[in-house]
């Protein structure tokens, strides 16, 4: 069996808040004991509401923040960013796409420069090659070559998210962490971006960690699902298992709260409503 792209053992992250010179303050356990494993070419979805620790976990997985304790392995290699920092090779393996495509692009940077920047920082590639690579990537994510010299404000939300995905892919990463990549987008644009992610996954054998609170998107895109609640991993398993037979009460609450758009449940609601009025 091949080595999983991403593996963690008992990741914990605590935050100390309100500490002053004289008082100890409080400890917030943002992530408690997260153990997970993602194989190559698969998608793990992390589901949870605000405050569940899913974004904190994402920051740990993308080597932005260190865990308080626990082990993080990327392609079988142990990473400890406090002791050894992040090497350029490691940075190339893991990339991230953020939720807000309006906030995650520099408004003063042209798209071509946005795409070339990861190469400038992490490789010794000459400028001409960088430009070629950026042009190719632009085409891959469904944008045109004439977009190369434009600024972020000239693009719609969906196009900006394409740019953010393109930037993340410039270094040929094996792992892409996507933090709510479609929740700021309209339904039709969401469908385009989800399709793009599926195409890219097929083409480059990408591994995704997909963070979302939208269960219908998760059900569509994920292979495995992990549900977090108040920092705790309350449920973990294959998509089929979790959706067919949720074990934890929070997962059940979450499913019950998700709006249903099928004809049968609309009929049921209208019948209930008619009964209430009568």
């Amino acid at each position: 069996m091949s080595v999983p792209v991403l593996e963690t053992h008992h990741i914990v992250r605590d935050y100390h808040v309100g500490r002053t010179l004289f008082a100890g303050g409080q400890v917030i356990h943002a992530v408690k004991d997260a153990t997970l494993k993602v194989e190559k070419g698969k998608t793990l979805a992390i589901v949870g509401e605000s405050g569940s620790g899913k974004s904190t976990l994402a920051r740990i997985l993308t080597l932005i923040d260190p865990p308080t304790s626990g082990e993080l392995l990327i392609e079988g290699e142990r990473v400890d960013i406090i002791k050894t920092g992040v090497s350029k090779q490691m940075r190339r393996k893991v990339q991230m796409v953020f939720q807000n495509p309006y906030g995650s692009l520099n408004p003063r940077q042209k798209i071509g420069d946005v795409l070339a920047e990861p190469l400038v920082i992490n490789t010794d590639m000459p400028a001409s090659e960088r430009q070629d690579r950026a042009q190719q990537m632009l085409k891959k994510v469904g944008l045109a070559p004439e977009h190369f010299n434009r600024y972020p404000h000239m693009f719609s939300g969906g196009q900006r998210q394409r740019i953010a995905i393109a930037r993340a892919l410039m270094l040929n990463p094996s792992l892409l962490v996507l933090d709510e990549p479609v929740s700021a987008l309209d339904l039709s644009v969401q469908a385009q971006i989800l399709n793009l992610l599926a195409d890219l996954q097929d083409e480059f054998q990408l591994t995704y960690v997909f963070i979302s609170h939208d269960l219908s998107v998760v059900r569509y895109i994920a292979d495995d699902v992990m549900v977090m609640y108040l920092g705790e991993v309350v449920e973990q398993g294959s998509r089929e298992a979790v959706f067919a037979d949720p074990q934890h009460s929070y997962t059940k609450t979450l499913f019950a709260a998700t709006p249903r758009a099928d004809v049968a449940s609309i009929k049921a609601r209208l019948a209930r409503r008619a009964a209430e009025i009568a």
Binding site: E49, L187, L194, P259, D262
Partner: protein, 278 residues
């Protein structure tokens, strides 16, 4: 006679590149005790037309209509000082960002009581009693203490409840909810939707639900208007819309729902490209 009756509403904005029509020739009517959902993606004009009803558009907007009547009164040609006694009392509105729509400098008790003082002329004691009653109605348990809380001390869901309390304070005939749950978690969304629909039935209000979320439509509406780029695409009762949509745009929108995915790619709205012309 419908409660709100709009014929041929057009809203245009004066921009540096000429006149931009955000809403063009919309007919719309709501009966008393009815839940109408207006669905559309960003740029469909769904919020703009309701802001036009409320008179909350900036001076750069021009509103024209053959008819804009609420409860038999012509809102379009009504002088502002008369309109002020209808807006906030007979028509109330709640907005997308609950935390941003409350004034951070005043306690929520003060803000609820301000509505009661202005529209109903209650004295201090009556106002206090009514504010507590309202907070209980919207499901805030420790109302007496909460009156002294500032918006930043409450969660997003709690703030939205306060907004709803303010909106229903004068027992409005029409409540307009502009994306009331977009900023909230699914579990909180469920609670807020249940609350809104419950209050609607209990008070016999008309409710206009502006949303881009098909699930929210399925869970709340009696009748639905689908809009795209300022034009009405379809109007039908909720069951017909989901069972047999007539407009191609609605069909495309419904098929872009990940819930309805059949293959391994989502259908996208090709004929109705959402990318703006650059």
């Amino acid at each position: 006679m419908p409660l709100l009756d709009i014929r041929n509403l057009t809203v245009s904005f004066d921009t540096s590149i000429g006149l931009f029509k955000a809403v063009e020739g919309i007919d719309l009517s709501v009966d008393a005790r009815e839940v109408l959902a207006i669905v559309g993606e960003s740029g469909s004009g769904k919020s703009v037309e309701m802001l036009a009803v409320m008179g909350l558009l900036p001076p750069s907007a021009t509103v024209t209509a053959d008819k804009l009547e609420f409860d038999g009164k012509d809102l379009l040609h009504m002088p502002p000082h008369e309109k002020r006694h209808i807006i906030g009392r007979d028509i109330a509105m709640i907005f997308q960002e609950p935390v941003a729509s409350l004034n951070p400098c005043f306690t929520i008790g003060f803000q609820i009581e301000e509505v009661l003082r202005f529209h109903l002329g209650m004295d201090r004691k009556q106002r206090r009693a009514r504010a507590i009653e309202l907070l209980h109605q919207v499901g805030i348990s420790d109302a007496e203490q909460r009156l002294h809380a500032f918006p930043h001390q409450m969660s997003g869901g709690q703030c939205q409840r306060v907004m709803i309390a303010m909106a229903i304070a004068c027992k409005p005939k029409l409540l307009i909810a502009d994306e009331p749950t977009t900023a909230l978690d699914v579990t909180i969304q469920k609670q807020i939707l249940d609350l809104l629909v419950g209050l609607q039935a209990q008070h016999g209000m008309a409710l206009i639900m502006i949303t881009h979320n098909i699930g929210v439509v399925a869970e709340t509406a009696d009748r639905v208007i689908v809009q795209y780029r300022g034009h009405k695409m379809e109007e039908s009762d909720v069951l017909t819309l989901f069972e047999a949509p007539t407009s191609p745009y609605t069909r495309a929108l419904l098929s872009a729902l990940p819930d309805n995915a059949t293959g391994d790619r989502l259908p996208t709205i090709g004929d109705f490209s959402a990318e703006p012309a650059i």
